[in-house]
C-alpha cells in the first residue's frame, strides 16, 4: 500500500502532456518574449527601453495611486456589505450574492458608458439639478477627472472585493464567536479579535482581485477620464496597437514588465502579511 493511491487512467504523464505543452508554448514562451523584447532593440541587447519607465514615471505613479485609492474605497464599502450578508438567513445570502454578481453579466463597456450618461455635463444628474435650480445652473464637473476614473474602478471591481470577504466570513466557526461572548467579550472586541483576523484571507484575495485589474485598466481611463490622463494600460495599448501612430513592442514590453514586477511585489507582500497574521494569532490591530 505504499504505492501512490491517486487515481490514474492511462498514466499521469499522458494526462499532463497536453497541459504542459500548451502552457509552455502559450504562457511561458510569450512571457519570455515579453522579457526579451523589453531588453532588446534594433541593435540587440539594450537597456534604453527602461529609460521610458523614467520618462513615464508620472503616469506610472498616477496608475498606482488611483488603483490604491480605488482598492481602499472598495475595501471600506465591501466589508460592511459582506459582513451583513454573512449574518443574514440562508436564502437571503443566496439572493444577495446573486444580486452582487448579476451586474457583471452586462458588458462592462456598456455599463461604464452608462456612468458617462449619468455624470457628464449634459447627463442625468446635471439635468436633474437644472430641473431644480433652473436652466442657468452651470452643472457639476463630475467627469473627465481622476475621481471619475476611481469611480469607474470601484464600480467595476467592487463585487470582486465583496465576494471573497463574504466567503471568508461564512467560513468562520460560529462557536468561536459564542465562546468569546461567553468569556465576556463585547461586540467590538469579538469583531476586532476574532472576526476581522479570520477574514484576512478574504480581504487579501479581494485586494489582489481589485488592485490588479485597476492598475492595468485602459478602458475605464479612456471613457471616464476623457482620454487626457493616460494610465500605464493606455500606454501599453498604444505601443502595441499604434493608436497614437507609434508601434513599439520594445517600449510596450518594458512597461508590461513594470506591471508584472509591481504585481509580483504586491503579491509577495500580501502573502507575507497573511502569514504574519496567521502566526501571530491575528494581532493585526
Amino acid at each position: 500500500m505504499t504505492k501512490s493511491r491517486s487515481v490514474e487512467v492511462g498514466s499521469k504523464k499522458v494526462n499532463l502532456i497536453p497541459f504542459s505543452g500548451w502552457m509552455v508554448v502559450f504562457v511561458l514562451i510569450p512571457i519570455a518574449l515579453v522579457v526579451y523584447y523589453a531588453f532588446t532593440g534594433v541593435d540587440g541587447f539594450t537597456l534604453t527601453n527602461l529609460k521610458w519607465i523614467w520618462v513615464y514615471r508620472d503616469t506610472l505613479w498616477l496608475s498606482v495611486w488611483l488603483s490604491v485609492i480605488a482598492t481602499v474605497i472598495c475595501l471600506l464599502l465591501a466589508y460592511p456589505v459582506a459582513y451583513m450578508i454573512s449574518r443574514a438567513g440562508e436564502k437571503m445570502q443566496r439572493n444577495a450574492t446573486l444580486f452582487i454578481m448579476l451586474p457583471m453579466w452586462m458588458n462592462f463597456l456598456v455599463r461604464t458608458y452608462a456612468w458617462m450618461t449619468i455624470l457628464e455635463n449634459n447627463g442625468l444628474v446635471n439635468n436633474a439639478l437644472r430641473g431644480i435650480f433652473g436652466e442657468d445652473f452651470a452643472g457639476l464637473n463630475m467627469i473627465n477627472n481622476h475621481g471619475a476614473i476611481v469611480l469607474g474602478m470601484v464600480y467595476n471591481y467592487l463585487p470582486y472585493m465583496i465576494l471573497p470577504i463574504y466567503t471568508a466570513l461564512t467560513k468562520i466557526d460560529n462557536s468561536l464567536i459564542e465562546a468569546a461572548r461567553d468569556l465576556g467579550s463585547g461586540a467590538v472586541q469579538v469583531f476586532r479579535r476574532i472576526v476581522l483576523p479570520l477574514s484576512v484571507p478574504g480581504i487579501i484575495s479581494g485586494i489582489t482581485m481589485v488592485f490588479i485589474p485597476s492598475i492595468s485598466t485602459f478602458i475605464i481611463s479612456k471613457i471616464l477620464g476623457g482620454g487626457k490622463d493616460f494610465l500605464i494600460g493606455d500606454l501599453i495599448e498604444d505601443y502595441f496597437l499604434g493608436n497614437s501612430g507609434v508601434v513599439n513592442y520594445n517600449i510596450g514590453a518594458a512597461l508590461s514588465l513594470v506591471i508584472m514586477v509591481m504585481i509580483l511585489l504586491a503579491t509577495y507582500l500580501m502573502n507575507r502579511f497573511d502569514k504574519d497574521a496567521k502566526t501571530s494569532g491575528g494581532g493585526i490591530l
Binding site: 499521469k12 494526462n15 497536453p18 451586474p103 452586462m106 442625468l124 463585487p159 514590453a253 508590461s256 508584472m260
Partner: protein
Amino acid sequence: MKTAGKIFNALIFIFLYAPIFVVVFFSFNSGASRAVFDGFSLVHYQEMFEDELILSSLYYSLIIAVLSAVISTVIGTMAAMGINALKGWKKSVLLSVNNIPVVNPDIVTAISMMILFVFVLSKFHGMEMGFGTLLIAHITFNIPYVVLSVLPKLRGMDQNIYYAALDLGCPPLRSFIKVVIPQIMPGIVSGLIMAFTLSLDDFVISYFNSGATFQTLPITIYSMTKKPYDLKLNALSTLLFAVVLALMLIVNLRPDADKKAKRKGAAK
C-alpha cells in the same frame, strides 16, 4: 444601527444597479440621445436585429466560447488528474505555471500572446490573426480556471472506491468513467460554465488577439462606442441581460423545487 446598515446596503445596491437601469431605460428611447428620453419605442431593438455586424459577432462569440470551453475543459480536467497524482516540487511548479494567467493582468497576458502570434505569423506569408489566434488565446486563459475547479473535487474524493471497482473486476477505463467521473462532475461542470462565461465576456485579450477581420461581440461593442454612441448597444445589452437574468432565476429556483420534492417525499 440596523437601519443604518439597511440604508448602506440600499446605497450599494443603487450604486451597482444605477448604470444598468440607465442602459435598460434608454434602450426604449424613441430618440437617439443617450441622456434625453423622448418617448417609448422599440426602434433600437429593431435596428439591432437588422445589424449584421452585431449578429455575426454574437455568433462568433458563441462559437469561440463553446469551442474554447470544451477544449479547455478536456485539457484542464486531464491536467487536474495528472497534477493531483503528483507530489513535491513537480506539483508546485505545475500549479505555479497554472496560476500565471490567473494572476497576470489581462493586458499582460494579451500582449504576451500577441507578441508570439505576430512573431510566428510573420514567418508565414499571408497569415493573419483571426479565428485561430483568438481560439488559442481563449483556451489559454480558460485552462487554469478549469484546473482550479476540478482539483478540489479530486482531492476530496474517496479514492478507495475506484480501487474497490478495480478489485471487483471492472476494467480501469470503465471504473474511471463509472466511478471517478461522476464524483468530480460538479467540478468539471462548474469549470466548463466558468470557461464559457469568461470567454463570452472577455474583451481585453480578444482586443489584442483577434486581428482586423474576426470580431467577437465585446470587440464590436467597443468599436461601436468609439463612433457616436448608438442606442442599439443598449438594446443588445438589455436583451442579453434579460436572458442571463431568466437563466439565473431558473437555476436559482430549482434547488427550492428539489427541497420541496424532498420534503414531500419525507412526508410520505
